[in-house]
């Protein structure tokens, strides 16, 4: 806190751009590394290339969309119960 300027590294657009690139590279590398794994298949489907990446992506997308959808019905104003 001695610096004159406040620590605002994560607010800067260039940092955010860097973080996006890191995230994409990390995801890419992890998917590529599936070439080197020899997963023992328990149920058949889980030996597919990039299976866990797909599960992570698809399930999160569905969860977000679903919660958004039911939020239209279930979200109410904060004073809902006070009325």
């Amino acid at each position: 806190m001695n610096q004159k300027k406040e620590f605002d590294y994560f607010d800067r657009p260039e940092t955010q751009k860097k973080l996006w690139i890191i995230l994409y590279i990390a995801c890419g590398l992890l998917i590529v590394s599936d070439f080197f794994t020899h997963r023992h298949s328990y149920f058949g489907i889980d030996s597919f290339f990039g299976f866990y990446a797909l599960v992570g992506f698809a399930s999160c997308a569905v969860l977000i969309l679903f919660s958004k959808l039911i939020g239209r019905v279930l979200k109410v104003k904060e004073d809902y119960y006070d009325k």
């Binding site: 996006w20 997963r39 149920f43 969860l63 109410v76 119960y81």
Partner: protein, 587 residues
């Protein structure tokens, strides 16, 4: 003596002396108590017990086995950290309530019979309510009332079940229940209330976020985890628990995604995490039971850490809504770092305790070839990173800077968080000490190349989705309707219906009986005889041809004469004669 002394007694009796300590001595005293209890538990030999004969039953206040010991360790460890966290707190009520609460939780896990189990169980409900009421806001008071009412309902189910069970089996000993009958099902419902299983879960996200700063940290650990312990003890392998557990994992995520209040997000994520444990109990193999216990152990640590981090933010800023928070990384970096370690642990990030514990449950499902269960647990694992792993730290510490510059929280809070963070990473890197104290022998290696890569893929792609979908996750100043609607709004509706029906009934009764019937009775006793006497007279006059004004005058005269008793003698006799004739002709 030390070998059969119930650890619960240290905290419960110790609580009585809290008011005698002044200022810092009080805080040191409450830190030492769980340490003493932890030491005592470590000295207890597996198999030792302490029984008391009571009303014809042998009550077992102490039953030591590996299962009760591991829960005893984590309960006291967490209490130790929570009291360090609460080193700033001088409130006797909260300290005493906490000690009673944790002591009762220890009583539950070390009790060997259903009667003493029930007493400690109810003790927890009562003591924990004070941690909510201690916030002293009207909202907290109302939430506390709802909290205790729901737990009374659960407690009564449990009590009814226990009574039926004891009558049927003739024993009070608490072991795994195998028969599915009314008694055991009622016990199960009573426990599931505390496990926060939908649809009887809404008390948790309703009440916990209204608790005090330290109250939230304490509450997050004990009620749901004693329920998990009780399920492991009483209901291993009950398949219904797999279904309930899987529902809980998804349910918690969806609501946490909709939620705006950071402590309510964490409350819903408790439901999600307990879902994993309940599923593990339902699978019921040695591996999945080990997984459940290990996960409960690690969960208590990282969930307390998350509540501590959220509590620090609340303590420093007085705010807990994501819409009010943001950009706190600038002024609360340590709270952020510790909170992020908790967030990574709950997401089972490799290198943290969640990874070494949750994997046991998921592998338990795989070994039993439960493909759907496994699939749901993997989906839920991805979802955990979404709602607790990223959403909580992102919206509180990053996102849009709301101009809050609170400064770092106090040192004791940071110290407690540092300790819990260390535990998260330690158990994530070197889980063997935990594996050694699990109920069954563990031969498991979480860190295979395949498993680690698979988990990282799952998590990093979840992170990618979070940031890609960020516009959809924009926080709104809303709350979400949950099943507590039925007793909050439904309660009002019920009141209105009762008001309308019963008070309406009251009103019509008043109209009919009070004003109507009694009124006419009064009038009758007042001038009944006159009216009666007029009937034959008027018919006689009508027969004799009297009409109009003359008839009216005659009527009025006789009526007043009758009332005043100034009737000419002849008329009385005539009326009597007419009556006799009427009766004669009628009969």
């Amino acid at each position: 003596m030390i070998n059969n002394f119930p650890p619960a007694a240290i905290l419960i009796l110790g609580a009585l002396f809290v008011p005698f300590f002044k200022s810092k001595a009080k805080n040191w005293y409450v830190i030492i108590l769980p340490v003493a209890a932890f030491y005592l538990i470590s000295q207890l030999q597996v198999g030792s017990s302490w029984q008391v004969h009571f009303f014809g039953y042998d009550l077992t206040f102490l039953r030591v086995d590996k299962l009760s010991k591991v829960f005893g360790y984590i309960f006291t460890l967490n209490a130790f950290a929570a009291f360090i966290y609460a080193f700033y707190l001088k409130d006797n009520t909260q300290h005493i309530a906490t000690l009673f609460y944790v002591g009762s939780a220890l009583g539950v896990v070390f009790s060997g019979d259903l009667v003493s189990f029930y007493f400690f169980w109810e003790g927890m409900a009562v003591a924990s309510t004070f941690l909510i009421l201690a916030r002293k806001t009207p909202k907290a008071q109302a939430a506390g009332m709802r909290y205790i009412l729901v737990h009374m309902f659960g407690g009564l189910c449990l009590l009814a079940g226990i009574v039926i069970y004891i009558t049927q089996t003739g024993t009070v000993t608490f072991n795994a229940m195998t028969d599915q009958n009314l008694g055991t099902c009622l016990i199960l419902i009573g426990i599931l209330v505390n496990a926060a299983a939908p649809p009887i879960h809404a008390w948790l996200p309703d009440a916990y976020p209204e608790a005090t700063v330290t109250g939230g940290v304490i509450l997050s650990a004990y009620t749901t985890k004693t329920a998990v312990y009780t399920l492991v003890r009483g209901f291993p392998g009950w398949e219904i628990l797999i279904v309930i557990g899987c529902i809980m994992t998804i349910y918690g995520i969806i609501y946490a995604l909709m939620e705006n209040d950071m402590r309510r997000i964490l409350a819903y994520s408790i439901i999600n995490q307990v879902g994993f444990m309940v599923t593990g109990v339902g699978i019921g193999t040695m591996m999945s039971i080990n997984g459940t216990v290990a996960h409960a152990f690690c969960h208590i640590i990282y969930k307390a850490l998350l509540w501590m981090s959220a509590g620090s933010v609340l303590y420093m800023t007085g705010k807990s809504k994501c819409t009010d928070l943001g950009g706190l990384y600038k002024t609360m970096p340590w709270t952020l770092i510790f909170g992020a370690i908790g967030a990574l642990s709950i997401s089972s990030f490799p290198g943290t305790s969640g990874f070494t514990s949750k994997s046991l449950i998921i592998d338990g499902a795989i070994h039993e070839h439960l493909v759907w269960v496994w699939m749901i647990l993997e989906i839920a694992s991805a979802g955990v990173f979404l709602h607790a792993g990223i959403k909580f730290p992102y919206f509180v510490f990053f996102a849009k800077d709301k101009g809050l510059r609170p400064g770092e929280t106090n040192k004791s809070m940071l110290l407690a968080m540092a300790f819990m963070s260390f535990m998260c990473i330690f158990l994530g890197v070197y889980p063997q000490p935990l594996y050694n104290i699990l109920p069954f022998d563990v031969h498991y290696q979480a860190y295979t190349f395949n498993h680690t890569i698979a988990q990282m893929q799952l998590l990093m792609l979840s992170a990618l989705v979070f940031f890609l979908f960020l516009p959809l996750l924009k926080r709104t100043e809303t709350i979400s309707i949950d099943t507590d609607w039925f007793y909050r709004k439904g309660g009002q509706l019920f009141f209105r219906i009762m008001d309308k029906s019963f008070n309406g009934l009251n009103k019509s009764c008043e109209r009919i009986f009070v004003n109507g019937f009694t009124g006419s009775l009064t009038r009758f006793s007042k001038d009944g005889k006159a009216r009666l006497a007029l009937i034959p007279l008027v018919s006689l006059w009508l027969l004799t041809g009297e009409r109009g004004k003359k008839l009216e005058m005659k009527k009025t005269k006789v009526y007043t004469d009758l009332l005043k008793g100034t009737l000419p003698v002849g008329i009385g006799a005539a009326v009597a004669a007419i009556f006799i004739m009427i009766i004669f002709f009628l009969s």
